[in-house]
Amino acid sequence: MKTEKQPTLSVALAIGVATALMAGCATDRSAYNPSPEVIKHAMAAFKRDFDAKGAAGLDRLNTDKLQDVCNATNSKPSPDMAAVVEREQEAAIKLPADGKFLGDWKAGEKLAQSGRGMTWKDKAGIPNGGNCYNCHQISPAELSYGTIGPSLLHFGKTRGNSPEIQKYAYSKIYNSKAFSACSAMPRFGHAGALTETQIKDLVALLLDPTSPVNK
């Protein structure tokens, strides 16, 4: 194991190069092990070939360190690298000032249903949806759910409703990358996509004993 505490992006890129070299003899064209040059080329294409539209400004093409690490490793960072970025993401989580995590599960259900927000067609200033059912099974009554994320049915029933679990659920929705560096799930709180109140409502949907999720 590496002894250094703060592997940098250049380490991630070096890993990318090594993997790319190893994959050089593979004939499978579906394998994707990007070299730094390939990433640079693609990023240049993004900046050259995209135009700002509506709420979607060109600033969205400016990747942050976490995205750089995931892009350099095809979302498979080494355990060391993952641990470093996970700690950084965790450190940036803002927990509710009042120390309360549970909101209104009914508002949470509505939020979980809504997939709107943040595209160039969406009007700015209207609250974003949680997009939850796009990827997760949640309440048993909703049969139209996606499978990109794990099922959350009986989330609280199987885990209880302790303060620790509440904090975990809040933190996970706020920034999933604090737990899994290159998770497919957006960092809803970190990115400013959902407000503190909205995240509390989603936590209630998952953990409130009266929520249909736990019936």
Partner: protein, 269 residues
């Protein structure tokens, strides 16, 4: 439109029926049933007919038709051209998909300005864009042929590599890339199945699914539109129509899914 009513009614039944965890099966069965019901009838035929007229009609500042357009198999050859795109075109010194290439001919043979081409590439149900008509005409002429996208030219390889990288690039407020939804097997958004476009089997099926007539929007959508809408849902800025980035992503998918039979414009919910 009778197609629309019939298919929507049927799809609604499939979507709201008593579906269980494996809900995709009845839904897909529903879609297949309506495709079967329509047989070869696809409203895209209206686009094809209009597209053929446009192809042969003298237009633009140069008052020329598109009949001498070289789609890759020589001037004037339409049949079989679509299944060999995207490809490198020496005269333009770049890789283009068929939509970009037809527009290139409109600019170069007819003298249509690039600004005019870019003004309204994606039409509406009431008013399709000319490129949607033209493309539907050209692709239909390859019906029944196998996708045989060339991969040997250095620029074609380069386009594949760039497209693959753009496809996997995570960015924006949600950290999404194309691969977030289309990089693993057997995933769904809600009940919509997501092809894994990094693998030949799914890419084959998905690639020949465009352009498509969508019942829910009552119009033909092109692959350039499809890529545009994917980036919209990724919460990213808008990819420029016909740009290298968009053509590279299309090239990546086309080369990954090479070899499928092209059955003509698809019909989708």
């Amino acid at each position: 439109m009778k197609y629309r009513i019939a298919v929507l009614a049927a799809l609604t039944a499939a979507w709201t029926g008593p579906v269980l965890a494996q809900a995709k099966d009845p839904t897909i069965a529903g879609i297949e049933k309506y495709r079967e019901m329509l047989g070869d009838d696809n409203p895209a035929e209206l686009y094809e007919a209009r597209g053929e007229q446009l192809w042969k009609k003298k237009a633009g500042p140069k008052n020329a038709s598109l009949e001498q357009c070289d789609l890759g198999l020589g001037p004037g050859v339409v049949k079989g051209a679509y299944v060999q795109t995207p490809r490198y075109y020496a005269d333009a010194d770049r890789v283009m998909d068929m939509e970009t290439r037809i527009n290139w001919c409109r600019m170069n043979l007819q003298g249509v300005s690039e600004a005019d081409i870019r003004k309204r590439p994606f039409g509406s149900a009431d008013k399709p864009s000319e490129i949607e008509d033209l493309l539907t005409y050209v692709v239909t002429a390859s019906k029944g042929m196998k996708m045989n996208v060339p991969t040997d030219h250095p620029k074609e390889r380069e386009a594949f590599q760039l497209g693959q990288a753009v496809f996997h690039m995570r960015a924006g407020p949600y950290d999404f890339s194309c691969a977030t939804c289309h990089g693993e097997d057997n995933l769904r958004i809600r009940l919509q199945e997501l092809p894994n476009l990094t693998k030949a089997e799914d890419a084959k099926r998905a690639y020949v699914g465009w352009p498509a007539y969508r019942v829910s929007t009552s119009r033909v959508h092109t692959m350039q539109w499809r890529i545009n809408d994917c980036f919209r849902q990724q919460r990213l800025p808008e990819p420029r129509y016909m740009s290298e980035a968009v053509n590279a992503v299309i090239t990546y998918m086309a080369q990954t899914g090479n070899g499928a039979e092209y059955k003509g414009p698809a019909l989708k919910r």
